[in-house]
């Protein structure tokens, strides 16, 4: 059977995922047991959450590299307000608003001023992280309410509660991307913004709200992160944007926009998590872990494009409209 390119890529990731799991179960001590699986799932929560909205934004041919810094800023705000004695139930929505504001800044700079999101979000990556340090300095706020820190690490059987959260939000994101008019519009504008605009798609509005959604999701991830480690610090999640982008690209989303599925991204999040977990259990040095993540990232950008190069050499059988 001939598979669509997207399906073919997803199948490849699935095969890799199963392969790595089998290999780790057989060859790595301590991998194949309930508590490790539970920890593995828990450990991918923040990356999975941020990868959901990152998928939408990369399909729309933009990128948000500031997510991990938004997470850090939200953590810092949480720590500062907790120290100031505010109730945690009030702090949490404030953090989500901080995330929304960060996303709105990105969205404004990209859609209203027409700046490239790569440059904008590299800038805000530094900006938000810097702001986090301004707010909280280098202190760690650790005396967080046990009710919430407990919740963040609780599980139903081997299934962490946070994984349920990821599953619910993933279902929402998948429906938005694959089964709504907005999702159709995101694919169209990611592939050809001008044609989408000519068809009445509100290009700027959609992109703006995608950046806001990215910010809110990063703030939500910050809550999970903070409670999970029971520690609010300005440097929480430093460098996570690399893992998020790696998961999205490895999941088959085209860096040029217009292609990708949420299922592929979720499998890639798991694949990266499993590889990481197995290598840690096998006592591989941290530097090697980063090397492997980087390798998978480059491979995931390279592989689909190798396909494209090959396609370009085998011309389409239908005569085009005299295009060169």
């Amino acid at each position: 059977m001939r598979l669509e390119p997207a399906r073919r890529w997803e199948s490849l990731i699935l095969v890799l995922l199963v392969g790595v799991c089998v290999w780790a179960s057989l060859g790595v001590d301590g991998f194949a047991n309930a508590s490790n699986v539970s920890f593995l799932l828990l450990d991918t929560t923040e990356i999975a959450l941020m990868a959901l909205t990152m998928t939408l934004i990369v399909v729309a041919a933009e990128i948000d590299l500031s997510v991990a810094s938004t997470l850090g800023l939200s953590c810092a705000v949480l720590g500062r307000l907790w120290n100031a004695g505010l109730p945690i139930e009030l702090i949490m929505p404030i953090c989500l608003l901080v995330g929304a504001a960060c996303g709105a800044v990105n969205g404004f700079l990209v859609t209203r001023l027409g700046l490239p999101s790569l440059a904008v979000t590299i800038g805000t990556l530094a900006l938000f992280r810097g702001l986090a340090y301004v707010i909280l300095g280098d202190q760690a706020v650790a005396d967080l309410p046990p009710a919430y820190t407990g919740l963040a690490t609780a599980s139903i059987g081997p299934l962490p509660l946070t994984t349920v959260l990821v599953a619910v939000l993933a279902a929402v994101a998948a429906v938005v991307l694959h089964a709504t008019g907005v999702g159709r519009a995101i694919f169209a504008l990611g592939s050809n913004e001008e044609a989408a605009f000519f068809a009445g798609v509100r290009v700027k509005r959609i992109k703006f709200w995608l950046f806001v959604a990215c910010g809110v999701m990063a703030a939500l991830a910050s809550l999970v992160y903070t409670f999970r480690y029971a520690s609010a610090r300005a440097d929480n999640g430093t460098g996570l944007e690399l893992a998020v982008v790696a998961a999205v690209l490895l999941g088959g989303v085209s860096i040029f926009g217009g292609r990708g599925t949420l299922a592929g991204v979720l499998m890639a999040v798991l694949l990266l998590g499993v590889v990481r977990n197995a290598l840690i259990l096998a006592d591989v040095a941290n530097e090697v872990l980063n090397f492997v993540t980087g390798l998978l990232l480059v491979a995931s950008v390279l592989a689909p494009n190798l396909g494209a190069v090959r396609r370009r050499r085998t011309p389409s059988p239908v005569e085009g409209n005299s295009a060169p």
């Binding site: 008019g181 005569e319 060169p324």
Partner: protein
Amino acid sequence: MDLTPVLSLSQVSKAFGAVRAVREVSLDLYPGEVHALAGENGAGKSTLVKILSGVHRPDTGRILLDGEPVEFAGPADAQQAGVAVIYQEPTLFPDLSVMENIFMGRQPRSRFGIDRRAMREAASALFTRLGVRLDPDQPARGLSIADQQLVEIAKALSRQARVLVMDEPTAALSGNEVARLFGVAKTLREQGCALLFISHRLEEMFELCTRVTTLRDGGHVATDLIADITPDDLVRRMVGRELDALFPKQETDAGEVALKVGRLTREGVFTDVSFEVRRGEIVALAGLVGAGRSEVARAIFGIDRWDAGSVEVGGRRLRPASPTAAMAAGLALVPEDRRQQGLVMDLSIERNIGLAGPAAVRRGPLVSRAAERSRAADWAVRLRLKYARLADPVDVLSGGNQQKVVLAKWLARGPSVLIVDEPTRGIDVGTKAEVHRLLSELAGSGVAVLMISSELPEVLGMADRVLVMHEGRLVAELPRAQATEETVMAAATGRSAA
């Protein structure tokens, strides 16, 4: 002609999988002739050009250069043999100057590196030989398409090209630019070049060419002396059947005003444009390229802002600069640039048809895939779209079928006002007649149609009224009875019309 052809194709065939794109086609190109290659989209013209230019190797058959068999392993071999292709839209290096583009990789050298003076002189000499004026030092960025083509031609000459293939060079040119290109082509012909000329405009072939080879479904139909045949003969050879009259506009009674444009102005682009289009009418907007016609259409549809004036659809004023508002009011725009503005080339046929109106296929907030597909299938049948699967990207369709997808996208919304900008540019005669019939039927069913077209026969055949623009202003409004080539061209070129 008792000369040896510079280049011959002898019984060449080329298949891609099961599709036989070219079947046993022979073609002789003699020095000093302009040879037309005619055929509908999908007839095999592009494949033949790619064989000539070394992009494809024929499966069977031979290529003869000066009567000797040769093999082109790649485009470099074809170039070496003196074959050059000028495409519809050349790809120059935008940040390099004209002369640097011409001599890319073969710059004249002095002891100290590149000899810019020699390069400039050589470029000027080439332009003199072509009889055109272009500044060798000008950067390629900002050159018109017509000028870019001239740079490509100069580049070809500098490589001693003896066979020049022009693949639809005139599709994006204005009348003056076409005339200048033809001047260049005639100069080259007199200097002994062989030219292969591809165009969808029959009148151009009859003006410029000496012989014409017609392809149909990949096969060779006939090679005729232009002097021996009529345009009707040629159309018959291309489509293999009799066409109805090319422009079948039915007489209809105009209804109430559907679109009213009042003193619309966009500074520096168009000024004080006022007109009305009634239900059931086809109104043509004629004029030279650059007169501001497409810009008026873009402003009406909300793509660009306007500075003054108003647009009313069905009696209600339109919010400026919002395509969404224009669509909600019942407007639809089939834009000029099909590949860039009309379609998302990577997306499937069904997704493109659904793009402008997911509302019709929604169930609550969700899109129903089944409804999306059945609506696309429905429109594909109604417009006689030729496709393999609705899930295929529109990229694989021929130009005419792509245009049908754009039309389907808008017609599925049931618009009250349809603006079409160059609706038949670059599409084959058969599909062209279908598009004309469709527009006529739409008008018959009460849609107000505003048609921008640079093809006078189309304007005169289709329109109930002809509006003519010149340098950003509406200069004439001609009822069908008064619209002739002379009156329209007089107005379009700024000579007073009536």
